[in-house]
């Protein structure tokens, strides 16, 4: 096909760095998993204990896959990395395909190129080739590294090339998705749905009778039984499926007009709902998506922690380093672990909160603020709408993270009282998280050019949390992190005073920021 080579070359040049990070990230997942398991369990007895506790944990199985040969390094590596590795190569393939096909088409950037003497299929084929090569590199990197680490060569290649084949499958399904809608965002949505659907099908199948696992490409990948009696024939399913999907995508591409999708674009609302018509309504409509996304993500994050149940010991092993990291308070391993987990979820939630507090700056930079403030909407009221969205969003995200953790624990252990004691403490972190957002708002009011600095306190707090004990930081330095002033409930007793004090600090910072904003120029 004329022009494919040129497109391929341009795409590779444009994507070099992005592809490099994706490939290293996806392959790194396998390699780091293998290495950390090797560090965690030092004796066969530890492997046996871990296997015994994990094999019967339905939550683990739903999360990772069917448990096989968990008393070996290879078996553990395959079990822990296949499902997430498949998701990573799926996402990588989806973004490579999307950015070179539908995104270019939607923006109209490649009209110029298409008008020159190239085949109609050339850009699409070049994009497929880029994704194919990237997936192959991930597979080879995994295979060679694990073999070099000392795992069985055949099984290592089964693990690596299986990932390549899953990536190819998702490349083809992503290409179908790109033909369906005219909007890149919804096409990504559909392609993402295929990936998450594949993961969910095998999760339900693995916990149940296994039928649904055979409906999922990730299930096929895990059916190769790497490091537990390797078999190659499921790879044929993946390659065959990828071929069929690719043929379907090309057929759809051939049938549709340039710039359009197979599914006609659905028109939006011609009139606004009443809820949108105020400053608060506008702020919420802009932030709602982020709140829901983060809440969903942290719910599953919490669920993953909670589903460990009482098997904390098996998971973190006897290593002092991992105990220091995962159990930062109390004498009891389980409550100490959950107190630490809730803190970690709260620190992650602060990512949402700071991004949300910086949203007004983005509105200012892209010119939306000017349009809004030229109406009878007062500045203070406009900013207050965003502050409310940040505060409500933070409470929701923290609460949902706690709910996920409690729900996971309840599902695995069935102990409601303990599950509840792991659920509510996440809300105490409203204090420190809002202090960080208050700092972001102060920057927005005083020095809008420097709002990126709002991330520094979060990075510092994360370092204190992860490495404070390890590096034996002086207490005064650790106290700079607002998270350090709260007891690690449930390992320690809850206290109102620090929460109230932190909320007061957050309020003071935020009010100072709002006053400063009222007095400054808007650009």
């Amino acid at each position: 096909m004329t022009g494919t080579g040129t497109f391929l070359w341009t795409f590779l040049k444009r994507d070099t760095w992005m592809l490099l990070w994706w490939i290293l990230g996806a392959a790194g997942l396998y390699i780091v998993t293998c290495y950390s398991i090797d560090q965690l369990y030092t004796t066969q007895q530890q492997y046996d204990e871990a296997a015994a506790s994990m094999e019967n944990n339905a939550a683990f199985i739903a999360m990772a896959g069917p448990p096989r040969a968990l008393d070996t390094l290879g078996g553990q590596t395959a079990w822990q990395s296949t499902a997430f590795g498949a998701i990573l190569v799926g996402l990588m393939s989806m973004f490579v395909i999307g950015r070179h096909t539908r995104a270019e088409e939607e923006s109209g950037r490649d009209e110029l190129l298409r008008a020159s003497a190239v085949s109609r299929y050339a850009p699409t084929t070049a994009a497929v080739l880029v994704a194919a090569v990237a997936n192959l590199l991930v597979g080879l990197l995994v295979s060679v590294s694990l073999t070099a680490y000392g795992l069985a060569a055949a099984d290592s290649f089964g693990l690596g090339l299986g990932a390549t084949a899953v990536g190819w499958f998702f490349t083809a399904t992503a290409l179908i998705a790109m033909q369906l809608t005219a909007s890149t965002r919804s096409a990504y949505g559909i392609a993402g749905l295929v990936i998450s659907g594949s993961y969910l099908l095998r999760a339900v199948g693995d916990v149940g009778n296994g039928v649904l696992s055979w409906c999922s490409p990730i299930g096929w990948y895990q059916a190769m039984h790497q490091f537990s009696g390797l078999r190659w024939w499921p790879l044929v399913l993946l390659l065959g499926g990828a071929g069929v999907a690719l043929a379907a995508a090309y057929a759809l591409f051939g049938r549709r007009d340039y710039g359009s999708g197979i599914i006609a674009t659905r028109p939006g609302r011609p009139r606004a709902r009443r809820g949108l018509l105020t400053g608060e309504g506008l702020a919420w409509s802009l932030q709602r998506g982020a709140v829901l996304g983060w809440a969903g993500g942290l719910f599953f994050g919490g669920l993953a922690y909670g589903a460990i149940g009482d098997d904390v010991k098996a998971l973190i092993g006897d290593s002092q380093t991992s105990q220091d990291l995962f159990v930062q308070a109390g004498d009891d391993l389980v409550t100490g672990f959950y107190g630490t987990s809730i803190l970690m979820l709260a620190v992650i939630c602060a990512g949402f909160t700071i991004a949300s507090a910086l949203r007004p700056r983005a509105e200012e930079e892209n010119g939306h603020l000017e349009v809004a403030l030229a109406t009878a909407l007062p500045r203070t009221r406009w900013l207050l709408g965003h502050v409310l969205a940040t505060v409500v969003g933070t409470v929701v995200v923290l609460a949902v993270a706690g709910l996920g953790l409690g729900a996971g624990y309840l599902l695995v252990t069935g102990d409601g009282d303990v599950a509840w004691s792991f659920t509510w403490p996440s809300l105490q972190y409203v204090g420190p998280v809002l202090v960080l957002s208050g700092f972001a708002r102060l920057l927005f009011g005083l020095v809008p050019r420097w709002t990126a600095l709002a991330w520094v306190p979060l990075a510092f707090s994360a370092v204190v949390m992860l490495f404070g004990e390890l590096f034996q930081m002086p207490q005064w330095l650790m106290d700079v992190s607002p998270f350090e002033h709260l007891p690690m409930v449930p390992a320690e007793d809850f206290a109102w005073e620090p929460v109230i004090a932190l909320v007061a600090v957050a309020l003071a910072l935020s009010v100072a920021g709002q006053i400063a904003f009222r007095r400054r120029d808007v650009h």
């Binding site: 909007s183 028109p267 939006g268 609302r269 011609p270 009139r271 606004a272 949108l276 018509l277 105020t278 400053g279 506008l282 409509s285 802009l286 998506g289 892209n366 010119g367 939306h368 000017e370 349009v371 809004a372 403030l373 030229a374 109406t375 009878a376 909407l377 007062p378 500045r379 009221r381 007095r519 400054r520 120029d521 808007v522 650009h523």
Partner: protein
Amino acid sequence: MIDIRGLVKRFGSFRALDGLDLDVGPGEVHGFLGPNGAGKSTTIRVLLGLLRSDGGEVRLFGGDPWSQAAELHRRLAYVPGDVNLWPNLTGGEVIDLLGSLRGGTADARRAELIDAFELDPTKKGRAYSKGNRQKVALVAALASDVDLLVLDEPTSGLDPLMEEVFQRYVDEFRDRGHAVLLSSHILAEVEQLCDRVSIIRAGQVVESGTLADLRHLTRTSISAELERAPSGLDALEGIHDLVIEGTRVRFQVDTARLDPALQAILPAGVRSLTSQPPTLEELFLRHYGDNLESTPA
């Protein structure tokens, strides 16, 4: 409605506005003309209470645009030069939102404008072209019941047909006794729409008056092909850069002196004639010695 005296605005050590005066009264379309970077948008932003003035006096409807911004904004509508819409809201939603934030719009008026501008209100902000984004902002502005329209280069993305629709609505708005402040760097646009014009250069208004007052600023370029060589042109006042090559003639003439110049060439028998209005760039080059190419935007 707008009354600005000696307005100063500094950005660091740079004086973006340096003693600017501007007057706009009811029933008037006021052109605010100047090259990019002269301070047009800065003035508008001070007027909208987005920027705080560093000196001079600014009154909008007799009030202070900084401290009474929200209150005064009930009476005006603003269309920025580069309209940025929220990507997740449809055009219809944006029109309703801006209308409601200004104090409400009439449904019939809204429908009429959407129809006149041939706007599809069901598309999302990210899917609109530049011209269509501008139409959304124009419909939102024209649908509101306000006394003043502030338009910052409002037609830069519109096609000629839509420009005509736009001009019709601006005329109608003015005829109801309202005022319009229209900033532009296109002389022809201002000539077509405005009753009075203020020319801004380096943060100061250098000329202000009706278009007739400003005639002396404009020169028309004429080139003609005649039957015989013309005579007497070089004796006329207001003729510049005259070139006669046999039966061809090229010259520039002060617009106020256009009639005698044409009278002078008519007896020579005109075969073809082209006349070009001066561009803003030529005007500035001639009157102020500015080289606009090197002026930062």
